[in-house]
Symmetry: C2
Subunit: 470 residues, 2 copies
């Protein structure tokens, strides 16, 4: 494909995407295909000869689109947000076009330095502790997902707890880690990968708001120490996946300091809200944390993948992950004046992901981002009020932010049937969880293009469907 | 930004990218900036108000571009290829536009099923063993990088060796792994992360072609067993990073079977060549492997990130990484009829990366891909002949494929000076390694848009610069 052909084909695809967003509400939000339908529609072998872009785009429309669940539809209320936005798509497009490797500073200095600067911007925008800035002892790095960030920090904590001997000699201490029963599954996955073992991960029970109970944590730590275990890691969640519960961030930090544990704050879904000063009380005590992560690719209008991960003492991270094969040796690295981000995470290769974040922040501006976050929270609180006012539904846990956990006053089966009936209609898509053993419906309100009418129509549809089912 | 504005801004960026590729040879290949230059040119705080795309694109040109090293320039011969191509950029653009999450089948069935089908295509295109196909016991999955693939497989191997007890109780066996002294650093990183410890990773010495010596491997295994260690993992490289050495794939597989070790083949850079049947003798014995990975984001014209990872027995992978929190429960998963790719790797979230691979394979066709690979190998062999014919330079190791390791017949310092002088001129960019303690210059020939003239001019520049320096 020549540049001239790329101009032509590229513009067609830009139009295709614009058309998609103009028509997005016409698609069934949840894909209605059955297992095997898509794969069965595709040839069994790759073509021998090249094909035209027109042929590919035609297949995209006819064969692929029926298998898409429309995460960017304003009628998508499921799971969590995975927002994109036009400026983000364009920033990512520039990154694809440049096609540079930012594994070390020397392989494309701008990829590293823009990332460092943009993550310092974000730290400031969110009222993060000074230590998380690159100008202090710490700094930020973009990871692909919060799962990888969680694994990264578990490994760094393991190395701190073993004086970097696990990397060298293998793990031989009885380390134990502490999370709540509501903490994201990625922490369990990280603990397993790190060789620590699920049996050495303590799931501390939660209070009535599904926040970690520090009294139980302290008791468990004392018991573990008495049994010869070494507590090494505590994770506090700012917004659990099931119900947006918020752990007591300061108290956890104080316990972590006292017990010499690494303290990580996982704010994957909710972190974006810290752009608004009125929500920062949720992270009061963040200055006690060793690390903090959140996902702009959830609520901050930045397309996947883009997790932001800050560390208070970057030396610990670099000492954990540093490698330097001969073929990557260079003057800049040896001078110590630059960051080589490959030493801040698991991967070696890395794309110029900071560009999309730079585009998003500059396009919206701090005030624009604040506006959208506040609007989403307002819509969720409206929805909560409507549920409160209805006779047939109830709110299960007070919604702190933009997720409303509620249920039809009926059996678990009825609630699942209600949800599945609505989802199968294609008109909207929402999902469930279990809290205290009970099925709970989740309305997650925060899609990039959501307006009040979408939330109102969703509530009407839920009520109407419930009536028809009963 | 409205869809109408996106049409306008998007088309400008398509033109910007086309212009970039038309002008790419005018840029200095290696960025000439000093540490801190880029970051110093950017504001210290994020803007409060939103800015225009024009302002951002202007900063991109003026502030960012000087900090870019041009990996997509046909005069880029450094490190390894990190090729992109126009069809790949467009496939990735569609993926950004759709913005779907493919973490499980149910969250967007097409994202899973296109990936499964395209990886089966690739397995067939490359003469992979039947067991690697989804229609058999195995299957393929896209990982971000070969580093992550390496970690994934180390963990799966650890679990096999400990009857899945390390995940549960933590690692308490004395496991040992085997690679060569030339194997990629990602294996060492994976072994450390897995809690096995660098001390339990044996770096087996290599022969005169820098391939792993199986006689030394067998000796080491026997010695380890006698000392109470449990051998659990062997990695064979098809194309080492330094010199494209190829380990004895079949022999390693036989030893692995005999010693009950997991056998992984790392073909990160060279794997693409298997599209051409005449190169498949390099992977003779691949049917003995438990897993295999290569990077379409290196030599296969697919932009980063896109590592392809095949496994012979997917159950082992799924049993290692599976998680199922309540909020992700769904009918399709419970039916067992679908793949949930989150259980095939470390991350939970995943973007629709198969689209770009689908675009690339269909655009080029198998024959088109073969044509480019053969052309790159031919150009590298020509370069090798020119070096052989010169009096002042020598080939250090016979180039098997598209990487030529050579040196000026002079001191290490002279070779480094030669390389740095050329790189600082901006006319081309190539890098070095050390083989047998000696500095070696590397010409990696395989950029998407490379033509014969680029290789000829590079060789002339190298000769001329050497003359001027001596």
């Amino acid at each position: 494909m020549t540049p001239a052909q790329f101009r032509e084909e590229g513009k067609k695809i830009i139009d295709w995407i614009a058309d998609y967003y103009e028509d997005i509400e016409k698609y069934p939000v949840l894909s209605q295909v059955q297992p095997g339908e898509i794969i069965g529609s595709l040839p069994e072998s790759a073509p021998q000869k090249g094909e035209t872009m027109d042929a590919m785009m035609c297949d995209l429309d006819e064969k692929i689109m029926p298998g898409i669940t429309h995460w960017q539809s304003p009628n998508f209320f499921a799971y969590f947000n995975a927002n994109t936005s036009f400026p983000s798509i364009l920033g990512d497009l520039v990154s694809s076009g440049l096609g540079v490797q930012g594994m070390i500073w020397a392989t494309s200095p701008a990829a590293t330095e823009v990332e460092t600067r943009v993550l310092d911007w974000l730290a400031e925008m969110m009222g993060m502790p000074e230590s998380f800035k690159s100008t202090s002892t710490g700094g930020g790095v973009i990871q692909d997902t919060a799962s990888t960030a969680a694994l990264t920090v578990v490994i760094a904590a393991r190395e701190r707890a073993t004086q970097f001997q696990s990397n060298e000699k293998g793990l031989d201490k009885k380390l134990v880690a502490y999370i709540s029963s509501q903490t994201h599954s990625s922490l369990e996955k990280g603990i397993k990968i790190a060789g620590i073992g699920k049996a050495n991960l303590r799931l501390i029970d939660v209070d009535e708001n599904f926040a970690l109970r520090t009294d139980l944590l302290e008791k468990q730590i004392q018991q573990d120490k008495a049994n010869g275990f070494v507590p090494f890691f505590i994770c506090g969640s700012v917004g659990t996946t099931s119900s947006t519960a918020i752990d007591p961030i300061r108290e956890l930090g104080e316990i972590a300091k006292q017990e010499n544990c690494w303290y990580h704050i996982d704010a994957a879904a909710l972190g974006t809200a810290m752009i608004c000063p009125e929500f920062r009380h949720f992270i009061d005590g963040a200055e006690l944390a060793d690390s903090y992560s959140f996902n702009p690719h959830k609520w901050m209008f930045t397309n996947f993948d883009c997790n932001v991960f800050w560390i208070a003492n970057r030396e610990e991270l670099i000492n954990t992950f540093s490698i330097l094969p001969e073929y990557l040796r260079n003057k800049a690295t040896e001078s110590g004046e630059v960051f080589d981000y490959r030493d801040w995470h698991i991967q070696l290769g890395r794309r110029f992901r900071a560009l999309k974040l730079w585009f998003v922040i500059r396009h919206y501006g701090v005030e624009g981002l604040q506006h959208h976050i506040r609007e989403h929270v307002r819509l969720a609180q409206d929805f909560k009020t409507w549920v409160d006012e209805s006779e047939d539904f109830e709110v299960v846990v007070k919604p702190l932010m933009n997720l409303v956990c509620f249920r039809h006053k009926a059996s678990d089966e009825s609630n699942m049937k209600l949800m599945n009936t609505i989802n199968n209609s294609g008109k909207m898509y929402f999902t469930h969880t279990k809290l205290k053993g009970q099925v709970v419906l989740r309305m997650n309100i925060g899609q990039t293009n959501i307006e009040e009418r979408h939330v109102k129509e969703a509530w009407e549809l839920i009520q109407e469907t419930a009536k028809n089912l009963s």
